[in-house]
């Protein structure tokens, strides 16, 4: 019971080979584009790696890059096979190569689907990674004199300006952290002493934010300090003030940005996947159709092409048997390596 049989007269075979050769060139470019998109995504993730705690999400661009490169190689092979299939004398040399080639190609192409699924599945992981990374960034904002942390201030400032965001979830995250270093605090001043004493950890907490949270679209000059104190500023009410600072949290801004990137890349990857599968299916038909021609004198006869010679279950059973035989050979090989030792022992008692 052959799976999806199609009859191929000579002209149809020739046209299939030619069309497939052209399509393999298109798929090669598509694979190169997938590789380029993987590189782009990786560089974008790497640029903000200072505010990310874990590198789990990097598996998506890594997969895209690997599959892109592999598919370029696969399509070059497919093109060569198509060229040789037009010449029946050259085709037989591909006979042993093609079945493992198909298994490998189907596996590689399915990795594209895996990458797409992972890009959605890893969103919570990305969010968690950003949450921890940003929390650390905000905590170490003041440590511009500690080696290893001295660039956190600039990183966080640039991030907030570029993504038009403030803090982790919102601007109030800055109220819970001491972001002004002790080097710039006058400990003889009453105000500083009061604030430091007012909390358990002895930190200088205030209801103020760094300048990078300021929104340029605000009609009034930026208010960064005493944000919750309406009387500190003329004609100011913090409950109704919306444009003074950025309302968005940086975690949300970054997650949206990366999801946007992956949603743009998604359709291109899907297109590449469909194109690659079409090529593999057509190549399988071409291979099985050409196998009917090998050994015949008249090369222009009509042959049949199919995907699987037997049904799916029977093919799986056959493959299992083949695997068992290969393993048995390996075991027998071990056994025959052992027997030369045991045989003299068996002979000795006989001779003795």
């Amino acid at each position: 019971m052959v799976l999806l049989k199609i009859k191929f007269p000579f002209q149809k075979r020739v046209r299939l080979a030619q069309g497939l050769w052209l399509l393999s060139w298109v798929a090669m470019f598509s694979g190169a584009i997938t590789f380029a998109m993987g590189v782009f995504l990786k560089t974008e993730l790497h640029r903000r790696s200072e505010v990310m705690h874990s590198m789990d999400i990097h598996i998506v661009p890594n997969l895209l890059m690997a599959v892109g490169l592999a598919s370029v190689g696969i399509n070059i092979c497919a093109g060569k096979v198509c060229q040789d299939s037009l010449d029946p004398s050259r085709f037989p040399r591909w006979k042993t190569f093609l079945p493992p080639f198909f298994c490998f190609s189907v596996f590689i192409t399915s990795l594209l689907l895996v990458a797409m699924i992972l890009s959605f599945a890893l969103q919570p992981s990305l969010e968690e990674s950003l949450k921890i990374g940003l929390k650390n960034g905000i905590r170490f904002y003041k440590d511009t004199d500690t080696p290893g942390r001295c660039f956190q201030k600039e990183t966080i400032d640039r991030l907030q300006i570029e993504f038009q965001c403030c803090g982790n979830t919102n601007y109030r995250d800055w109220f819970e952290v001491q972001w002004i270093s002790n080097r710039y605090l006058d400990f003889t001043s009453k105000e500083v002493k009061d604030r430091v004493r007012s909390n358990v950890d002895g930190r200088y907490l205030l209801d103020g934010v760094p300048f990078s949270c300021c929104n340029p679209a605000s009609p009034r000059p930026c208010i960064q300090y005493s944000l919750l104190d309406n009387s500190a500023h003329y004609n100011y009410e913090y409950q109704s003030e919306e444009l003074n600072l950025y309302n968005r949290g940086c975690r949300q801004a970054l997650v949206n940005y990366y999801m946007g990137l992956m949603n743009t890349i998604g359709p291109c990857v899907l297109f590449d996947f469909l194109l690659q599968m079409t090529i593999l299916v057509s190549l399988r038909y071409l291979q099985t159709a050409m196998e009917g021609v090998i050994g015949q004198e008249n090369v222009e006869i009509e042959t049949e092409g199919y995907i699987l010679e037997k049904g799916v279950k029977e093919t799986l059973l056959e493959t299992k048997e083949k695997m068992k035989k290969i393993l048995q050979f390996a075991q027998v090989g071990d056994a025959s390596a052992v027997t030369p030792d045991t045989q003299p022992d068996a002979e000795k008692p006989a001779t003795a």
Binding site: D145, E154, R158, W179, I180, D186, F211, R220, H233, N235
Partner: protein, 359 residues
């Protein structure tokens, strides 16, 4: 005594025609490049129109026109060179070729002028930026006036993007009132004192907007009471360098535009050299084809040159033509005027005819 004479065999002429056909199409592409460079420059200038007192329109418009004209001229040149392989087809273009070459020669001057304009735009731009930024800073506080409400945002984005502050430096902000009266408590004694302390009643402070804050500073930004050392702990404004952006925005924008224009100027110069070489090739092809027609045999060798006589002779000849053009409406050549001829030869050759008299 021709200028730079080169002898062309039939195959040489054919190859020259084919090469020039390809080069003319390449020139069409460079014409498109010129057009897009002009468009890019125009977009860059329009983006910051609010910060310039008068928009510099001459240079980008020049580049756009020159680019479009280059496309048209080289398209025609490509057609002509394609037909030059065949002497019969060349006859179609024979009369048009010399005017075409002269037009293209003057056109290449326009390309050179375009390139030089790119380099000379700097002074105009500096003046325009100085006045534009001064006005933008003055209207910074007017976020409630229609027509000026976006200047604050533009100025803040500019200072953050280019990491600059003020016109020439951060002190420019000390001389203008950048906090609107809407946000000043007029009952507060400090505000009243400041307003009284200057002639025009402006609220001037030694502070700058938040967008002047430097990203590389080690300490949180100090934007108010900048010149007052005692207002901040461990602070000396004379030694502090990273707190605010030191560069003036005029300088920053000038450098930005100068860089763009220098790159564009260089590309236009290269395109100019390319156009001149294509023009030289077309001139050689034209003279070679004309000489072939003069000799009569399409397969023979012919000479090609830039000018038939030396430069001085050609200049004199053309000057005479221009002089005589001016004389065509004068009466000297009127055959009805009886001019006594001075030469003896003329007298001998005058036929004496009797006019029959009617009886």
């Amino acid at each position: 005594m021709a200028v730079l004479k080169v002898t062309f065999t039939k195959t040489n002429r054919d190859k020259l025609a084919q090469v020039l056909w390809v080069l003319n199409w390449v020139s069409v592409v460079t014409g498109v490049t010129l057009f897009s460079l002009g468009l890019f420059l125009k977009v860059e200038i329009v983006k910051r129109r609010e910060l310039m007192s008068k928009e510099i329109v001459s240079v980008p418009n020049m580049l756009i026109c020159v680019g479009l004209t280059a496309c048209a001229i080289n398209f025609l040149g490509g057609k002509i060179c394609y037909d030059c392989v065949d002497t019969t087809k060349f006859l179609r273009w024979k009369l048009l070729m010399l005017p075409y070459i002269i037009c293209t020669f003057f056109f290449t001057f326009c390309i050179l002028v375009g390139a030089l304009m790119c380099y000379s735009m700097r002074n105009d731009l500096e003046e325009s930026l100085f006045l534009g930024l001064r006005d933008a800073m003055r209207y910074y506080k007017d976020t409630d006036m229609p027509g000026r409400c976006y200047i604050k945002r533009t100025m803040d984005m500019l200072q953050m993007q280019f990491q600059c502050c003020g016109n020439g430096g951060y002190r420019d902000w000390f001389h203008i009132q950048w906090i609107s009266n809407r946000y000043l408590d007029m009952t507060d004694s400090e505000v009243v004192e400041r307003l009284r302390s200057n002639v025009e009643g402006k609220y001037l402070i030694d502070g700058v907007p938040f967008s002047c804050c430097g990203l590389h500073s080690l300490r949180p930004c100090i934007q108010h009471q900048i010149t007052n050392n005692s207002a901040h702990y461990n602070y000396d404004y004379r030694k502090e360098e990273l707190n605010l952006n030191r560069r003036g925005c005029r300088q920053a924008l000038l450098e930005h535009y100068t860089q763009i224009m220098q790159s564009i100027g260089l590309i236009v110069l290269i395109i100019w050299l390319f156009e001149v070489s294509v023009l030289t090739g077309v001139r050689y092809l034209q003279t070679a084809m004309e000489n072939v027609l003069r000799l009569g045999d399409p397969d023979s060798e012919s000479d090609g040159w830039l000018l038939e006589n030396s430069i001085a002779d050609t200049a004199r000849y053309n000057f005479n033509i221009i002089k005589n053009l001016g004389k065509c409406y004068q009466v000297d050549d009127d055959p009805n005027i009886d001019v006594p001829s001075s030469s003896l030869q003329a007298q001998e050759n005058v036929p004496v005819k009797q006019i029959p008299v009617a009886r």
